[in-house]
């Protein structure tokens, strides 16, 4: 997913780039760790890096409720936390609302982090991290997240287009039958209506199909 492609998807869906940037700079981070003390330096680093830390959640808390309530953009969780499965389910069950999940380890084993990152889904952040080190990892995690979200948007756009084409075909058929015109004439009529009303072709076609259904 290039930046250009992302930009196009945003444009197609009516999301402005400024809006996108705003989201990126107001990232809400939720920390999940059984050891609250351990989260203090991490919180400090995250705040300095411009992230908004909205909560530290204990491992034993009801993560399902907390994620729904706080609606974080990014969740940072200890790699060895038993709550990881809970997040997996939230991620699989709510595909329309993906969140970046970043994991961190406390032993700072770089090989572990490297191979884990290769394995996908998530980036790993080391314990006792410096600001300089955290920022690029967070960025990498977010890039992954954006890539995933971008691909989903692309897919949605493609699906919408396909659905739209089907409706246009249907509307053309209706006009051809009712007004005894050729396919080309039916298409031109739809196009003219769309231009006159300043509406999308797909939208006009949908109205034609609905009207035809109403009229029986």
């Amino acid at each position: 997913m290039t930046y250009k492609m992302w930009h196009r998807c945003c444009f197609l869906l009516g999301v402005t780039t400024e809006h996108h940037y705003k989201i990126k700079h107001n990232i809400k981070v939720m920390l999940v760790d059984e050891n609250q003390e351990r989260t203090v330096p991490l919180t400090q680093v995250l705040s300095e890096a411009g992230y908004q830390v909205i909560a530290y959640i204990s491992d034993m808390a009801d993560l399902n409720k907390e994620v729904a309530r706080l609606n974080p953009d990014v969740i940072i969780i200890d790699i060895d936390s038993p709550s990881r499965d809970t997040l997996e389910h939230i991620a699989v069950a709510s595909r329309d609302d993906p969140r970046a999940i970043v994991m961190f380890t406390h032993d700072g084993d770089t090989e572990k982090i490297r191979s884990a990152t290769r394995a996908g889904v998530s980036a790993y952040v080391v314990g006792g991290i410096s600001n300089e080190r955290l920022k690029p990892i967070m960025d990498a995690a977010l890039a992954r997240f954006d890539e995933y979200r971008g691909l989903r948007l692309q897919l949605d756009v493609a699906n919408n287009k396909l659905a739209e084409r089907k409706v246009i075909e249907k509307a053309k058929g209706i006009l051809m039958q009712r007004r005894s015109v050729t396919e080309d004439e039916a298409y031109q009529a739809l196009r003219k209506m769309a231009m006159d009303r300043n509406e999308r072709l797909g939208e006009v076609a949908r109205q034609v199909v609905e009207a035809a259904q109403l009229l029986g």
């Binding site: 034993m60 009801d62 399902n64 409720k65 790699i79 060895d80 936390s81 038993p82 709550s83 990881r84 499965d85 809970t86 997040l87 997996e88 389910h89 939230i90 991620a91 699989v92 069950a93 572990k112 191979s115 884990a116 290769r118 394995a119 996908g120 889904v121």
Partner: protein
């Protein structure tokens, strides 16, 4: 047969021709048929002469604290691993996601893992795709569905009364399982759907780590859960819920955990993989002997393994059930580990079943080539070699027929129609 395996056989100290002949014939004819034809002396000498030296002698095998992790623990603790030239190091893991990541990146060599999870990774559900391998099945049965005391107070005793309650009460009912593609999700969804409850629409589903199920139910985070033992027994012990159904009620003799690894590991270390199967087969045979069950329950109850009171594990481990709602019985279909190799054989139809359910519940958007995927994942040839060494019978047919709680029969013959045939689906 992988190129690497051939090379390993050729470079063996002696008699490479015969070794290769066996390997090629096994591949060509199906191993079970072949083994019957090879004279006993040839079979044993072929394996014992040092040509099958494990490529890797120390293996780290991950497990989650559950009663059915017993084969891994017993194989290591009782020294069955040493008989086959390997050392098994059991590694207690905190989450199934962690087990998956570590198996995929090679930090763990293999794991005690949910059958459905292995197939989920193979199909790239919820994460990156990776070719996986099921070396053998570890156990059948022994999971369950628990409902909370609050639900009992509303008069729910079975699936039908639960359906009536959900229909009539104006609130969300929440059910927990253990992993999105795992076995407990599939047992829970199947059971709910049997009674007309759509798990995707009529209730809310969440995931809670097994050791935290009971604590979460106590504070009212869910109305029911599906999990492996001892956690259903623990809910009764702690007086917070009761067993409404066992997993063997849903499918008697269902496959549950497997010894899982990656296809890459098997390719690189075929001899180690075979040695692992042999050690764990020995362990499964040991555990299934009634006389050994009590000592195994004691062994796995310790803090380094399941970390639950021995009395909570021991009862259901020998089939002595109490549903916590006034019913006691001796269950013939309790948690089985061996049954003369009928449990441990990685039936293709078992693997395919999880794919049909992933399709049913919308985790797979299209039908996979069910049989081809199962043939790729389930290491029947390797298992057959290992079982042959231990003189353990191997079923003639890699498909088996099972009847479910709703009367449906699954025999692996038409997976596409089976997956599409359920009235309630995503």
């Amino acid at each position: 047969m992988s190129v690497k395996a051939e090379t390993a056989a050729e470079s063996g100290p002696h008699n490479p021709q015969r070794r290769n002949f066996i390997r090629m014939s096994v591949a060509a004819m199906g191993a079970s048929a072949m083994m019957g034809l090879v004279p006993e002396e040839v079979r044993t000498s072929a394996w014992a002469a040092g040509k099958d030296t494990p490529e890797k002698t120390e293996v780290k095998i991950g497990f989650i604290p559950l009663t059915d992790c017993a084969p891994i623990v017993v194989a290591a603790e009782m020294g069955f691993d040493k008989k086959y030239g390997i050392k098994i190091v059991p590694s207690k893991e905190a989450s199934w996601a962690g087990v998956r990541d570590k198996v995929v990146n090679g930090e763990l060599d293999a794991a005690h893992v949910l059958y459905g999870l292995v197939y989920g990774v193979q199909q790239g559900i919820g994460g990156p795709q990776k070719d996986m391998a099921v070396l053998m099945t570890l156990n059948h049965n022994g999971q369950g569905i628990t409902l909370s005391n609050q639900v009992r107070e509303k008069g729910v005793t079975d699936g039908n009364s639960l359906k009536r309650l959900i229909d009539n009460e104006n609130r969300d009912y929440t059910f927990a399982q253990t992993f999105p593609t795992g076995t407990h999700a599939m047992w829970l969804y199947y059971w709910l759907a049997t009674y007309g409850i759509n798990p995707m629409k009529d209730v809310k589903t969440i995931v809670v780590p097994p050791p935290q199920m009971v604590a979460n139910m106590r504070v009212g985070n869910m109305d029911g859960f599906c999990v492996g033992e001892p956690w259903n027994a623990r809910a009764i012990f702690d007086k917070i819920g009761y067993t409404v159904a066992t997993s063997q009620d849903i499918w008697a003799g269902h496959p549950e955990k497997v010894l899982g690894t990656t296809a890459e590991f098997v390719q690189k270390h075929p001899n180690t993989a075979r040695a692992m199967i042999m050690a764990v087969l020995d362990a499964c045979r040991y555990i299934d002997a009634t006389a050994n069950r009590a000592s195994v329950a004691k062994l796995i109850s310790s803090k380094s393994y399941v970390n639950a009171p021995e009395e909570v594990i021991a009862g259901r481990f020998v089939g002595s059930y109490d549903n916590g709602n006034g019913k006691k019985w001796q269950d013939p279909n309790y948690m089985k580990f061996f049954e003369d190799g009928k449990v441990t054989f990685p039936y293709l139809s078992d693997g395919m079943w999880f794919l049909t359910q992933h399709k049913r519940w919308g985790m797979l958007k299209t039908d996979p080539d069910y049989l081809a995927v199962a043939k790729k994942v389930n290491q029947i040839d390797l298992y057959t070699e290992a079982a042959g060494q231990l003189k353990i019978a191997v079923p003639k047919d890699a498909m088996r027929s099972s009847k479910f709680i709703d009367g449906t029969v699954w025999d692996g013959k038409d997976p596409k129609a089976y997956a599409a045939g359920f009235k309630i689906k995503a």
